[in-house]
């Protein structure tokens, strides 16, 4: 009997030793794998990319934010370019925080909202809806969407919510790239210069202290990432930049099924967790809207979803000029985003609208974008490239259209100056808004526009193409 119990205790000791050794071996192996993977991530992940820097700093600032976030502004890049939380802090006396990364789609916003709601007692969520990310770029399984989501995944701390986010957003073929970020940079494996640059940036004090600031020669700040998710930028749109590369066709499908699914999930999440939510769209430069076939289709669709959930939707693209006169290149950083000057104007109007009852604030807006166009003086805002069907690929030509808010009421003179060549007149004053150039040709396109029948007042734009 004693021998049997001795045998059993020896066997248990042996088993115990083997199990401990095995577990120890596995743990050590996991540690080595993680250590090597982190070293490779350090060497290869791209810190030159300002978008990556933005996400890194934003998530760091979020995790180090000590106060409760009362009002969360979430959505696409329009959040961090257009909404100044410091102004809002003064206006509403609450803690306001912007949370958005470049190209952030609604699936990312859904999981980020859940992440923030775990730690903060959210009073109000303001969800920004940029229509391009729910239409042209609204396929959430596209490669672009995967890349944009990585910016959040890489910086988000490990949690069940993060795992759900990964498994929900990514197809299995993306898992390795998701869990081992260095794999995405395999093409840079032998590029020593790239590695040198990455290591140099990552060893810099600014990078280590989560600072990102670009100054001009005189030391004035041009871009600075602030600690409440706001991107301070003094960059300005110029007339030369008034070329938009896409013609947006959203009439048939004003929002993709992917975008609608996550918009509904966000609305349901807020309803279930008693978080007030308001939907809004930031103003874009008029050229962007004019390059869209039917912007009202988008407004109607979002309104119908908002009504379904009994929430408010404000589209600042149809804000009346008397309340917000923002359509000047000086207020924009690019065709999509405001700069700090514009953001200051917009944030003020934004809060005026948000702080009033819906019935009151509705006076700030036109009933539709069509109404707004009809009420505007005829004007041109740039040119946009028409869809590929309009581009004659056989002869390699690129087709453009003049972006006019009242195209039928205006006439256009189009002059083309290809780089290094003399100016040629494409057309003298004519109602035609379309023109084409060889696809490989670059230069300056001068558009002179006048209201039909009025020769005294002309508007001129010189645009790089």
């Amino acid at each position: 009997m004693t021998q049997v119990s001795l045998f059993i205790s020896n066997f248990k000791a042996l088993l115990h030793k083997k199990i401990v050794k095995t577990i120890g071996y596995l743990a050590l192996m996991v540690f080595v794998i993680l250590f090597v993977a982190n070293c490779l991530n350090y060497i290869y992940t791209d810190a030159e990319d300002s978008f990556n820097q933005w996400s890194r700093i934003l998530w760091h600032n979020y995790y180090s934010y000590k106060d409760n976030i009362d009002c969360l502004y979430i959505g696409s890049s329009h959040i961090y370019e257009d909404i100044d939380p410091y102004i809002l802090d003064e206006l509403n006396g609450k803690n306001n925080f912007d949370f958005a990364t470049p190209g952030q789609r609604l699936n990312a916003s859904y999981y980020i909202l859940k992440e923030i709601d775990k730690k903060h007692d959210l009073e109000h969520v303001y969800l920004e809806l940029y229509y391009d990310l729910s239409t042209r770029r609204g396929d959430f399984s596209s490669r672009d969407s995967m890349i944009d989501n990585w910016r959040n995944i890489d910086e988000m701390k490990f949690s069940l919510n993060k795992l759900r986010y990964i498994f929900d957003v990514y197809e299995p073929e993306y898992y390795l790239d998701t869990f081992f970020p260095f794999i995405r940079y395999k093409s840079m494996l032998f590029d020593n210069e790239y590695v040198d640059r990455q290591v140099r940036i990552k060893r810099s004090e600014d990078y280590r202290k989560y600072r990102y600031r670009i100054t001009d020669d005189a030391g004035n700040t041009i871009i600075e990432f602030t600690d409440k998710g706001y991107d301070y930028t003094t960059e300005k749109l110029t007339d030369g930049d008034l070329l938009y590369q896409y013609e947006l066709k959203i009439k048939e499908q004003p929002i993709t099924p992917d975008a609608e699914k996550y918009l509904r999930k966000i609305l349901e999440y807020c309803r279930e967790n008693n978080i007030a939510i308001t939907l809004f769209s930031s103003p874009v430069y008029e050229l962007h809207l004019l390059a869209t076939d039917d912007y009202d289709a988008y407004i109607d669709k979002i309104n119908s979803i908002a009504w379904e959930y009994d929430v408010e939707y404000y589209d600042f693209n149809i804000c009346r000029e008397e309340y917000m006169d923002i359509q000047s290149v000086d207020n924009f950083k690019d065709v999509q985003h405001l700069n700090t000057e514009g953001a200051t104007v917009f944030t003020d109007v934004f809060w005026k609208v948000m702080s009033q009852p819906y019935e009151e604030s509705s006076r700030y807006f036109y009933a539709s974008y069509a109404d707004k166009r009809q009420s505007m003086e005829p004007c041109i805002y740039g040119i946009y490239r028409t869809d590929p069907e309009r581009t004659d690929r056989e002869t390699d030509t690129a087709a453009y259209r003049v972006a006019s808010n009242r195209p039928q009421d205006m006439e256009y003179r189009i002059l083309l100056t290809p780089a290094g060549e003399d100016t040629e007149m494409y057309q003298d004053f004519s109602p035609n808004t379309y023109f084409s150039v060889p696809d490989s040709e670059h230069g300056i396109c001068t558009i002179v526009a006048k209201v039909t029948g009025q020769s005294d007042k002309v508007q001129t734009l010189e645009i790089n193409y």
């Binding site: 794998i33 299995p172 073929e173 390795l176 790239d177």
Partner: protein, 485 residues
């Protein structure tokens, strides 16, 4: 679902985990379910073929065991063989047959056959059909008892690690192992893990990278000549070896996780000193199958030299046809048989070439000569069509010394750095294979190392695969070449 896909990396641990949490008695049912799921991930409808093959051979095995009359037994076996070979023939050779019938008919100016011929070959059909037929012949010969448990037999036919590209297992090896209750064994896990890593290394670091060069040259035969075509053929020899060997190694590794030992399908074939030896070391399970179930029944070497040679040619030609429904595969198989017959004829002449038959120089010469002969045959295999193979040979013999030195090889889709990685990996493979040729198993050697060295080797291999492998969203996940057979 292929081994080098993320789906498999998720599927496999789940199967293993559930396998060891279930009671012993039902584990094989779980493996069967997993195997059927694995197979259905290609095309669910083709599971019916696998199931039919299983049912037919299972029933035939039981009937054969019951029958006493020799003629009845022969009839039963022949009927079952015919049914299975007809199914295989229909899916694999129907297109080939229609095309060749039409060629003959058009040569004699008779109207063409107008049957539709867009049949897709079910993955793995050549492998599981041979495995099932091997079992049946074993039962017929009385070498084994017929399996009574249908589910166990179904697992023997469909065991997922080796289902779609072998090794073609014998019932004496695999079926027997399915009887034994498998306990969790950490040693099996360790061995399986290292084997799988090694298999992935062969596939994604060597085979798929070499494939880029091969596809560039063989896809544009008019643009390349001389050295570059030879180099591409060399890389194809490496590619097909690492592709198929890689699959077999991963299959063996995966099977180890379930405590099952599969046949080692390759034994350093490129170190062979004759074509005959090459075939003893290349695709061992197929060579063994043809030897036992075709060559020996044909008379083997028992009926004189002439008959033996004819049998050899028949076996290799059939082997070629088994690989693919194309004249190029037939020629490839025939050529490999012919090499061996020619080798016998010039045996004496060859022996006079070497003063010391077993000297390093003699062995090296024999190995190089064997490798060159095998590579010549590979040209038919890779080209896929006789005319294409002829074009490749024509390009190969065009003298083009400059391309050896002007860096033209870096223009074949693989950068200088990755080519260096590829060549280094091939060198490592060569070293490990040479050790294997001498009888030292690299995996066993790794497992005998101290724990810290094992961690270095295993993580080193893992990161070599992650860093230098061809996989992920930027690459089309390459299927294993032998899936098409």
């Amino acid at each position: 679902m292929i081994f080098n896909s993320t789906q498999f990396i998720i599927f496999f641990p789940i199967v293993v985990l559930v396998y060891y949490t279930l009671p012993n008695k039902v584990r094989y049912i779980w493996l069967l379910a997993a195997s059927y799921y694995f197979y259905m991930s290609w095309n669910p409808i083709y599971i019916l073929l696998l199931f039919s093959c299983t049912v037919i051979t299972y029933a035939a095995g039981l009937i054969l065991e019951k029958l006493q009359n020799i003629n009845s037994r022969k009839l039963c076996l022949a009927a079952c063989l015919m049914i299975n070979l007809c199914i295989l023939g229909f899916f694999k050779y129907f297109n080939f047959a229609v095309i060749n019938i039409n060629r003959i008919l058009s040569a004699v100016h008779i109207g063409q056959v107008t049957w539709e011929h867009n049949i897709i070959l079910p993955v793995g059909i050549s492998f599981y059909t041979l495995q099932a037929l091997g079992y049946l012949i074993d039962v017929y010969r009385g070498d084994i008892y017929a399996e009574k448990n249908f589910f166990r037999y179904a697992l023997f036919i469909s065991f997922f690690p080796q289902l779609v590209a072998g090794p073609i297992e014998r019932s004496k090896n695999l079926l027997v192992q399915l009887y034994t209750a498998k306990k969790f064994d950490w040693e099996n896990f360790r061995r399986g893990f290292v084997l799988m890593l090694w298999g992935f290394f062969l596939k994604v670091v060597i085979a798929d990278r070499a494939a880029v060069i091969v596809n560039t040259v063989y896809g544009n035969p008019d643009e390349y000549k001389g050295f570059l075509v030879m180099a591409a053929t060399f890389f194809f020899a490496i590619q097909i070896y690492c592709d198929f060997y890689g699959y077999s190694v991963i299959a063996r590794g995966a099977a180890y996780f379930f405590g099952i030992k599969l046949t080692d399908n390759f034994n350093a074939p490129y170190f062979s000193q004759s074509v005959k030896e090459f075939w003893r070391r290349w695709h061992i399970s197929l060579s063994g199958w043809f030897r036992d179930y075709l060559y020996i029944p044909l008379g083997g070497n028992r009926k004189g030299a002439l008959r033996r040679r004819i049998n050899l040619l028949i076996v290799f030609t059939v082997s070629g046809l088994w690989h693919g429904a194309s004249m190029a595969f037939v020629v490839w198989g025939f050529l490999n048989g012919a090499y061996q017959i020619a080798g016998e004829f010039i045996r004496e002449l060859r022996s006079t070439l070497y003063t010391y038959k077993d000297s390093f120089g003699a062995r090296l010469t024999k190995r190089l000569a064997t490798f060159v002969l095998v590579c010549i045959a590979w040209v038919f295999f890779r080209a896929g069509q006789l005319s294409s193979a002829v074009d490749m040979f024509r390009s190969m013999v065009q003298f083009d010394l400059i391309s050896m030195f002007n860096g033209a090889i870096y223009g074949l889709g693989v950068s200088k750095e990755y080519l260096n990685v590829l060549l280094t990996a091939i060198f490592v493979l060569g070293y490990i294979d040479f050790q294997k040729y001498k009888g030292t198993d690299a995996v066993s050697a790794v497992l005998k190392q101290k724990w810290y060295l094992r961690i270095v080797i295993e993580t080193g291999l893992l990161f070599t695969i992650l860093l230098f492998g061809c996989y992920g969203v930027e690459y089309d996940t390459s299927e294993f070449i032998y899936f098409q057979f």
